[in-house]
């Protein structure tokens, strides 16, 4: 229940290791609420959830030790530097200091943020902050990754690296829960897709299956049909006529 309404209802999802699940839905469909529940950030009014084999609501700490999360909000402590932030995060996961230092040195080098290591996070560009957020979600080598719009603000090269990285992590047996509005990306990297609307699951399958099942020609069109959104053509016509008002 969120603001006295049911944000997520009768949602049943099973994601296997090595799978990249695309979790889609229109704005306000309940995607972020679902992710918050699965990461132990929100407690549902009823139901159960298991992540990495542990009950999220009974053993939240066991779950949290095994997950990595990239929130859409990109919230970080603004007054810290990237090095301080990574140091802080690795302490929370009990990484050995020498391992942590080696990892975050490598990560900031690979992500191209080494030159900003001593600058405050508040001073970084959106893309650099996002890279830091990704590094902080990976630093403890989580078994399950929850990614809410992970490509936000990234340039084409960085986005390519992240997409490839996700594929490799999945091939290592990591489970990836991927929320995004960029359907092309979801179509390309996700092994399976779940679309939800008004808190309920409305379809699941591969991109191809969903397109076929909805008699659509693209995933975009299928999404539009399934979530009851008026066609793009209708909406754009309305915008044009609104602008024509004198």
């Amino acid at each position: 229940m969120y603001e006295n309404r049911r944000a997520v209802d009768h949602l049943s999802i099973d994601v296997q290791p090595g799978e990249i699940l695309g979790f889609l839905g229109p704005n306000g469909a309940g995607k972020s609420t679902t992710v918050k529940m699965l990461t132990g950030m929100l407690t549902p009014s009823s139901g159960e959830a298991y992540v990495a084999g542990f009950d999220v609501f009974k053993e939240p700490l066991r779950v949290k030790e095994r997950i990595g999360y990239i929130p859409e909000s990109g919230a970080m402590y603004e007054s810290l530097t990237p090095m301080e932030y990574l140091d802080f995060v690795s302490s929370l996961y009990h990484l050995k200091p020498d391992v942590a230092v080696a990892r975050f040195n490598d990560l900031i080098e690979i992500f191209g943020i080494a030159q900003y290591r001593d600058q405050r996070i508040s001073e970084l560009s959106k893309g650099t902050r996002q890279k830091l957020l990704i590094a902080s979600a990976l630093i403890h080598r989580p078994e399950v990754l929850f990614l809410d719009e992970p490509l936000n603000g990234l340039d084409t090269n960085a986005a390519l690296v992240v997409k490839e990285l996700l594929r490799k992590l999945a091939s290592q047996g990591k489970t990836i829960f991927f929320c995004s509005h960029i359907l092309e990306v979801v179509e390309r990297i996700c092994t399976r897709i779940v679309i939800i609307d008004k808190g309920q699951q409305i379809i699941t399958g591969t991109a191809g299956q969903i397109v076929r099942d909805t008699d659509a020609s693209t995933l975009e069109e299928a999404f539009s049909k399934l979530t009851g959104v008026r066609t793009a053509e209708d909406l754009s016509d309305d915008v044009i006529s609104a602008l024509d008002r004198v």
Partner: protein, 548 residues
């Protein structure tokens, strides 16, 4: 040893250290971030906020030392020390460092990390202790030293003072936690933040006011003669619960002292127990959820009705809408503008202190200048304050809109000045006019004087725009820089205003003709200056760029 103790009570030592270090860095660096914005990368600066804090409260301790030296009454001086300490801790926690208690950000950043609630609670507690310790220690250094040395050498009294101050601070700190937690159950966090900001305004009023009262009382030797001894009724005052420690050390205690001190200690322990389980990540989650739920507020439509023609279209409308709405919604901007109110009220009180009124400058110019000079000081300060507040904002990045739209930046700058005159300076001067009407002999005098002051203020604002034109809310906030520029502005404004008021009251007002001529000259000057300022602003506007 410490790590083992923590582990024994179920606290994760490593996470505890990381969380505590993080809280301290976040708290003491807040406000310093903006100062680094736009600067190239550099070395970390340690914890400057901590030193600023210690310095400020150390100064407060120095002020308290005058009372301790002045009065031999330990109960009285001790109670004053405890009261000021409690007040300082309360205001700091409420106004500046709410995140010490619990911050909604914690939920967004930490809720998915494997942190146990006991670890989080202990880290918060430690943060609160450090914070309270810094404030109390800084206030206490000089008073404690004085108590040790004042009657021969009495280290026990010094220790008891420190102990009492720590107790008073802890009680206050945990009472604030109690208050904050319970208020947030019924009040939206945004509204609470607004209330706390107004408390900041109240605090500045109290600080200025008590400073004035304090120096007057000190001058008159009131503290030396004051009789304030332990009694049953004094036990009703929370600060005296902790003065009890000092009375015990001084060997001047009674049953009341014991009872009051026990009450203080018990209440503190009860509040600490209450705080356990509240300073948790689940509580941070509640805060975050409340913050996400939008506050129900009445939204007024932006219609033209009631708006002056100059603010109905184009850059004028944009500037008026922006500044008025920023004033409504941007707490920092609103508070920096409203800071003029306590200053004006106190200077007015100072002018009226001897009970002879402000006098009519048309009738008794010498007395008017003598009584109202501080008031004019505040009046001259207002345009400087407004311009300084309008330049810098947390939303400075949004100023791209001025550069990416075909708006005339020169017109925007001038419109901004007009908005300040119409919506801020004119109402302020009208309010002063109402006050003047109680002291001036005729309404005509009030009207002429207010008109004259409006023209002078406008000219002053024109000069500020002329010398340093900028787009509204287009520069990042820089702590310290604004204070120094405002300080220089105040000095210039004060000199400027003193000359103007003396000339007006002593040379111009005695003659109706001279008054009319000066009004006319000021009006012409305003028009000419408007042209000159517009020309310069237009030229400068061509070079204005979006650099963020």
């Amino acid at each position: 040893m410490f790590a083992r103790l923590l582990t024994w009570i179920g606290v994760d030592h490593r996470q505890f250290v990381a969380l505590l270090r993080l809280s301290l860095m976040v708290d003491f660096r807040t406000g310093m971030i903006a100062a680094r914005k736009g600067k190239s990368k550099g070395k970390r600066r340690g914890l400057p906020g901590l030193w600023q804090l210690a310095l400020f409260y150390g100064f407060l301790g120095l002020v308290l030392s005058f009372v301790i030296i002045e009065s031999a009454n330990v109960f009285f001086t001790g109670t004053v020390v405890m009261t000021i300490t409690m007040f300082a801790v309360a205001m700091s926690l409420l106004v500046e460092f709410q995140s010490v208690i619990v911050s909604p950000d914690d939920y967004h950043i930490l809720a998915h990390r494997p942190i146990g609630s006991r670890t989080f609670f202990m880290a918060r507690m430690a943060n609160l202790f450090v914070y309270i310790g810094v404030i109390t220690g800084a206030i206490g250094v000089i008073p404690v030293a004085l108590y040790v040395l004042r009657d021969g050498f009495n280290p026990l009294l010094g220790l008891a003072t420190l102990f009492g101050m720590m107790g008073a601070s802890l009680l206050t700190g945990f009472f604030i936690v109690f208050l904050y937690i319970n208020l947030l159950r019924v009040v939206h966090p945004a509204r609470l933040r607004r209330v706390f900001s107004y408390m900041q305004l109240l605090l500045s009023f109290i600080v200025y006011g008590s400073g004035m009262i304090f120096s007057t009382l000190l001058d008159k030797g009131v503290f030396a003669r004051l009789v304030f001894e332990q009694d049953v009724w004094t036990a009703l005052l929370p600060p005296t619960w902790f003065t009890g420690f000092m009375m015990l050390a001084a060997g001047r205690w009674s049953e009341v002292t014991l009872l009051a001190t026990t009450l203080g200690v018990c209440l503190t322990v009860m509040l600490v127990v209450y705080a356990y389980g509240k300073l948790s990540l689940s509580y941070a989650a509640l805060l975050a959820r409340q913050s996400e739920v939008s506050e129900k507020r009445v939204v007024h439509s932006a219609r033209h009705r009631g708006t002056l023609p100059m603010f109905r279209r184009g850059e004028g409308r944009a500037a008026a809408l922006l500044i008025r709405n920023q004033f409504k919604h941007d707490q920092k901007f609103r508070l920096s503008v409203l800071a003029i109110i306590p200053l004006t009220v106190l200077y007015l009180i100072a002018g009226l202190a001897e009970g002879t009124g402000l006098a009519d400058p048309f009738v008794d110019p010498a007395r008017h200048v003598a009584k109202a000079n501080l008031l004019y000081f505040a009046m001259a300060f207002f345009p400087v304050l407004l311009m300084a507040s309008l330049a810098r904002s947390d939303s400075f990045r949004a100023s791209w809109i001025f550069h990416a739209t075909p708006s005339d930046k020169g017109k925007l700058v001038l419109a901004m000045k007009d908005v300040l005159v119409v919506y801020f300076i004119a109402p302020y001067l009208l309010a002063l006019g109402v006050i003047f009407s109680f002291f001036f002999t005729s309404f005509q005098h009030v009207a002429v004087h207010v008109l004259m002051l409006t023209l002078v203020s406008h000219l002053f604002l024109q000069m500020l725009v002329f010398t340093n034109p900028f787009l509204p809310f287009s520069l990042p906030l820089r702590k310290g820089e604004r204070t120094s520029s405002v300080f220089i502005g105040i000095l210039v404004a004060a000199v400027f205003m003193t000359i103007i008021i003396n000339v007006l009251a002593r040379l111009v007002y005695p003659s109706a003709t001279a008054t009319s001529i000066v009004l006319l000259v000021l009006a012409v000057m305003t028009l000419l200056f408007e042209r000159a300022a517009a020309e310069r602003v237009r030229r400068k506007a061509l070079t204005m760029q979006y650099l963020h």
